[in-house]
Symmetry: C2
Subunit: 88 residues, 2 copies
């Protein structure tokens, strides 16, 4: 099932996958948030997004499975990493 | 100085102004975040933004004054309220 998959840059914290990224400035951080948002809508799976100026944190868990990490989280984390490869 | 100004919908918590809003869905929440982001860039003052699906929380404090609430926070909170009037 691949439930121990390691996704580059993401940590496991409290049954969630967590990523924290720093960007050049707020402009770049907001662009990343919008891209993640469009991807989340497309995936019908939404991370918790926290932003302070140039820093963005994402937390991925599957609420309807009782807040556990599922394949939906790993898959979205990998797609977000693909966005990061383009963005940075 | 108006430092006890009451801004409709905002609470004072830990030397910050805090607003939590629920929207129809993630689409509406992301639209609000983008509008707040553009306003923040224009104001050169950026709230901490936290989003989980249709819920958005904003936290405004003035870091370079040692994390206190200043006129910059009140002014941006009022402008964000003006966005909300249009958005909801």
């Amino acid at each position: 099932m691949g439930l121990d998959r390691i996704i580059n840059g993401w940590k496991k914290e409290n049954n969630a996958l967590v990523l924290t990224e720093r960007f050049e400035d707020f402009n770049e951080a907001l662009a990343f948030i919008v891209r993640v948002g469009l991807l989340a809508e497309q995936s019908n799976h939404h991370p918790t997004i926290t932003n302070t100026y140039n820093e963005v944190s994402l937390m991925l868990t599957t609420h309807d499975q009782g807040n556990v990490i599922t394949e939906k989280d790993y898959d979205l984390a990998e797609k977000i990493n693909a966005i990061l490869t383009i963005a940075k």
